[in-house]
């Protein structure tokens, strides 16, 4: 399925949409297509809102944001999100914040068919004071007071991966983030891959499969779809783009010009890749460091 078709079919105004990928495999191409199609009133969920969420908020797609850590890592603030929260520009944005672990446990509960997940770590902090969804529960065995978070079933989860087969069996190596948990938690799953491979490639190495095809609604093949984040073994993080965003994000007008040039003015990811400065892809492509093969054995 094309990216445009997948977003048109599964992402609706007002939906709760989780876009995961911790530094690695951030679904930039999918987020850009959501912007291009003009979705509104989304509740966006992401452990670490960074450039992509800043762009989606600057574009006016979001009504609410659930997160664990908000920033451009190592660079600075996300000013578009701050403008929306502090001044309602371009639209008011409600925030609901967690620790990384708290949000991960919301995915875990939903993925496991539980109404809540117990954890430790919020007692004595001010976080429950500003987020009424951080509650406590008494252990029925020891009487200990534990923290608890509710299940979270996103309407749609979008995850990037290196490869999948036509049935949606999806393989990831490198940082795994919350890809598997959010996929099992969500009602619909869109997987975006660097390449679609024959089923026998996946089946030759089943331990590497993070998401089974049975929970996948759409597989989109789009090389470089995570740029300027990275895909382990395919391309490195484009740190220059993260630094450059720091100048754009400070002004809503500059954000809108950036969105016009890089999203609204382009038809798809192929056009985006063609617009990257010459030499970008060569600069970001790593040398080889393959895993050694393992023998699963032939059992007849």
């Amino acid at each position: 399925m094309t990216m445009a078709a997948a977003i048109r079919r599964f992402v609706r105004d007002g939906h709760t949409v989780a876009l995961e990928g911790f530094t690695h495999l951030i679904p930039f191409a999918a987020g850009h297509e959501i912007i291009r199609q003009g979705r509104r009133d989304l509740t966006l969920v992401r452990l670490t809102p960074d450039l992509l969420m800043d762009q989606m908020v600057a574009a006016g797609t979001a009504r609410k944001l659930l997160f664990g850590w908000l920033g451009n890592p190592g660079v600075g603030s996300l000013h578009a999100i701050r403008r929306a929260v502090e001044r309602g520009v371009p639209a008011p944005l409600e925030i609901e914040e967690y620790s990384h672990f708290g949000l991960l446990c919301r995915y875990k509960a939903a993925a496991s068919g539980l109404p809540f997940f117990p954890l430790r770590g919020y007692r004595g902090t001010d976080l429950p004071r500003v987020n009424s969804r951080l509650r406590s529960v008494t252990c029925p065995f020891t009487g200990e007071q534990l923290d608890a978070v509710a299940d979270l079933h996103p309407d749609v989860a979008i995850v990037n991966a290196q490869r999948a087969d036509h049935e949606g069996n999806t393989q990831i190596w490198g940082l795994l983030g919350a890809q598997r948990e959010v996929a099992f938690a969500a009602r619909r799953v869109i997987v975006v891959v660097e390449e679609i491979v024959p089923g026998e490639v996946v089946r030759a190495d089943p331990n590497r499969t993070q998401i089974p095809g049975i929970i996948v609604d759409a597989v989109v093949e789009e090389p470089w779809s995570a740029h300027p984040s990275f895909a382990q073994g395919y391309y490195d993080r484009d740190n220059a783009a993260y630094l450059a965003w720091d100048r754009v994000t400070r002004d809503q007008g500059r954000c809108e010009r950036h969105l016009d040039a890089w999203i609204h003015g382009l038809s798809d990811r192929t056009a985006y890749c063609a617009r990257l400065p010459e030499g970008t892809r060569e600069r970001l492509t790593p040398g080889p460091r393959p895993a050694g093969p393992v023998d699963y054995g032939d059992y007849r």
Binding site: F22, T23, H24, L47, T48, F67, G68, W69, L70, G71, P73, G74, S77, R82, V85, E86, E97, Y98, S99, H100, F101, G102, L104, C105, Y107, K108, L119, R120, G121, Y122, R123, G124, T125, D126, L127, V130, E144, Q145, W173, G174, L175, L176, G177, A178, Q179, R180, E181, F230, Q232, D236, R237, N239, P286, R289
Partner: protein, 263 residues
């Protein structure tokens, strides 16, 4: 400046912080590493006195052996050559909540006398003067690691009488209050700044100035703390790095001085 002369130049204050932090790492420790200075400190410790330290990153990496200086806690160089990669949820569940972490490094925008940390807002939560990144992994590192070390640059706006928001629990209200909350880990043991190094009183759990960096006075430090600071019985000078430690940090770990700053 020749390379030999550069290696002999006295450590700047950022370097003093990194060397002090490296001394907190023990051989064999499982260390939860943050990016920036802690990352340099653990690399240094592994090359000196703690070759058996295991580097854990909350992005889901155990036993990282990065071939270049990682630019974030999710840098691909942390994966290539690591001992294990696991889902983030399992990293928090098993390595932190499951009590497999010896040492965790944390930063903060504000710290109080009991080592509680704020990384959420400066000012009122609903109308903040500065909106900070938020919790991330900090509450769980502080709650579960056997020891935590806080690294931050020091001024009165950071060393505050009262936090605007308590994101992360240190020694709570002091005394046995952390224990009464039910925290499983050991709490903060050191605070390392660009001016000096602090410990905590074993009974009251209040921060105590232990050492000042070369050229810094106790009076200067007091001017950068927002509460009446207590000092250890004998405040000494933070040890300067050995020539070998200095050379490793400058020539092997951060030769471009991305984090070290001007010599």
């Amino acid at each position: 400046m020749s390379s030999a002369a550069a290696a002999e130049a006295p450590a700047n204050r950022t370097e003093m912080m990194i060397h002090a932090a490296a001394r907190e790492v023990r051989d064999g420790d499982a260390v939860f590493v943050g990016i920036g200075l802690p990352n340099l400190a653990v690399q240094l410790a592994r090359r000196l006195h703690a070759p058996g330290a295991h580097l854990i990153y909350e992005s889901g990496v155990f036993g990282a052996r990065p071939a270049r200086l990682p630019i974030s806690i999710g840098d691909p160089c942390l994966v290539s050559g690591a001992a294990q990669v696991l889902p983030m949820a399992e990293t928090f569940l098993y390595f932190l909540q499951g009590r497999r972490t010896d040492l965790g490094f944390l930063g903060a925008a504000q710290i109080d006398r009991f080592g509680n940390l704020n990384t959420t807002v400066v000012g009122d939560y609903d109308a903040p003067r500065v909106r900070l990144p938020g919790a991330g992994g900090a509450p769980d590192i502080a709650w579960n690691a056997r020891r935590t070390v806080v690294i931050l640059r020091q001024d009165r706006r950071k060393f505050v009488e009262r936090l605007n928001f308590r994101t992360t629990v240190g020694w709570a209200e002091g005394g046995d209050s952390r224990e009464r909350l039910g925290a499983s880990g050991g709490g903060p043991v050191r605070v390392i700044t660009d001016l000096g190094v602090y410990g905590f009183d074993a009974a009251t759990r209040e921060m105590l100035l232990e050492t000042v960096h070369p050229g810094v006075t106790v009076e200067e430090i007091r001017a950068h703390v927002g509460w009446p600071l207590r000092t250890a019985p004998a405040v000494t000078t933070t040890p300067e790095p050995t020539p070998e430690a200095s050379r490793l940090l400058r020539e092997d770990i951060d030769p471009a001085r991305i984090y070290l700053g001007p010599a």
